[in-house]
Symmetry: C2
């Protein structure tokens, strides 16, 4: 971890704890405990590995600092974006019927679906309140702009989530449908982190737009890479082939590419679920039909665009350097 | 319906439709349709009876006008509070496993639980965006204050919901626990409507505080009345005794009063579920132990406090007159 991130990370955790403690009162102590468990601070298996990488708040603070702003003043916004992310994870896990998250029982597995939904709602409300904590340092006008970016992003997030879920039942999907879903569901919040960070760092409109695009393509590249690894990554092919996207039936980019080809892969796909012992053969077939090459090239294009926009953003100082490093770490390294 | 409400009601529906249409795009048309169904505008059984009474936006606009403000400018806030209410209804229905709402299938019954959770999330996001639409007319500082009132209310709402759900499993509840839950879950949003209405109407701090208290006690009185009707109302005693709170096991105020007495009712209650044919006998027993009188007196006290605070608020003009009428209509008339 770099020097700046060594300062950022504990400050982010402290700010997140402060925000989440809004719920702590004698009567609602067990409610507060649900959230501290989910955030990885308490309960079985708590600790850094249960907390996730906090990529979104890091991006926000690095962007703020790379625009010449004081990252400490932006901490409530960093907490806010991380809480939005966690709100969506809590509801996602219920919607997907997922029992594990970062190796631990999901919140709804421990406390049941009704309390789980409510915990997600509370995390979203706290993210809104966190954003308002910026007001003493930045004034209402700027907070308003930051909140507008975040709420528009959240609307796109629910829309992306709708598309993702409704795609499961559809057999007529194209890659265009995929891009619309990923833009809302994955790239939107990463993009918002960079846009809000540059806003709070004092970036002008052109700079903010460049950072917004950097975040957008970073998120897109990250998702395409994830889709690649879901079929051709080590854990999808060796060892845990039950986790291959081919087995779970996820309509990822390579799958949609293959379906549009209407060749051997597409015929097998529509024939019903793929079992773990078919994974190697079918992923090879998909590669033969060009999906592997297309996915790698697309990830490369998105990565190039992200880095181009980051250069246009002209990030300053150590934070600027670390933004390039973080982006490179998130994308491309494992391909 | 009074004259002012005749103008308010269609204007509220138009504003709500405008806000909800944020989701309407070719790709997400079916998502938008989920919300227009829930709001009572489209689908089987749509129409005024499916839309609810829109009490909260009416209260907000009447309060605004009674403070001398222009209610038309406050319409986005009216839509915002109604959307918060509907967000909580959508998630409540999932949490309570309720299949009907206002005589129609609930949203999750029609589209399933995962899409239902997501629709509730979207409605909450839209309520946040609606509030921001006030900015051109009122400026960021005032919008910020209104948003802060609403978000704090939403945090209390999730806390009240947590208490409500966790009370189901507890046998040691007191009336104090009840008041904490009702304050968060029912009275908070009504109180916020009055506080925001008076803020947007130009009320000074003292006036706003009086309206806030009016809304709080109005909400409390309404809930206590609802608890009374849940046991001694016509539909609880005659005809639909399966809907009696005694049968559903709801820990309402009269039940908690009875439990604190630790007498005949309490002994029966802890002995297991109450069947429909026991309803008359047990509600009589609860009355003998003083719960009926206590509940009526409490509703009266809350009503008196609400009306006192409304008089202190000194509401002006026709809107002021209608605020008194609406309050009287909501509380006490059916007792």
């Amino acid at each position: 971890m770099s020097n700046l991130q060594k300062s950022f990370s504990p400050a982010i955790e402290i700010e997140l704890k402060r925000q989440v403690s809004r719920l702590d009162s004698p009567r609602s102590h067990p409610f507060h405990e649900m959230l501290t468990y989910h955030m990885g601070w308490t309960g079985e298996g708590s600790g850094p590995s249960a907390q996730g990488k906090r990529i979104r708040p890091l991006l926000l603070l690095l962007t703020c600092a790379a625009c010449g702003g004081d990252w400490r003043r932006a901490l409530p916004a960093a907490a806010s974006v991380e809480l939005v992310h966690n709100f969506s994870l809590i509801h996602d896990d219920i919607q997907d019927n997922s029992d594990k998250r970062r190796g631990r029982d999901t919140i709804w597995m421990k406390w049941g679906m009704p309390l789980g939904i409510n915990a997600g709602d509370a995390v979203f409300v706290i993210s809104n309140l966190a954003m308002m904590d910026l007001a003493p340092a930045y004034g209402s006008d700027l907070v308003f702009m930051a909140a507008e970016i975040l709420q528009t992003t959240c609307l796109n997030l629910t829309n992306g989530q709708f598309l993702d879920m409704s795609y499961e039942a559809r057999s007529d999907l194209t890659m265009d449908d995929y891009w619309a879903m990923v833009a809302g569901k994955t790239a939107g919040l990463i993009s918002a982190c960079c846009a809000i960070g540059s806003l709070l760092g004092g970036g002008d409109e052109t700079t903010r737009e460049a950072y917004r695009n950097f975040g957008h393509y970073l998120g897109m590249a990250f998702q395409v890479q994830d889709d690649y690894l879901g079929i051709w990554g080590d854990s999808a092919l060796t060892g845990k082939s039950t986790e291959s996207d081919l087995v779970t039936g996820k309509k990822s980019l390579p799958v949609l590419f293959g379906l549009e080809k209407k060749a051997t892969f597409a015929k097998r796909w529509v024939n019903g679920p793929i079992s773990a012992n078919e994974v190697t053969k079918i992923s090879d077939q998909l590669a033969v039909e060009g999906a592997r090459k297309y996915t790698l090239e697309t990830a490369d294009q998105m990565t190039d665009l992200a880095l181009q926009y980051l250069r246009i953003s002209n990030p300053q100082g150590d934070a600027g350097q670390e933004l390039f490093e973080l982006a490179n770490k998130l994308i491309g390294r494992q391909l």
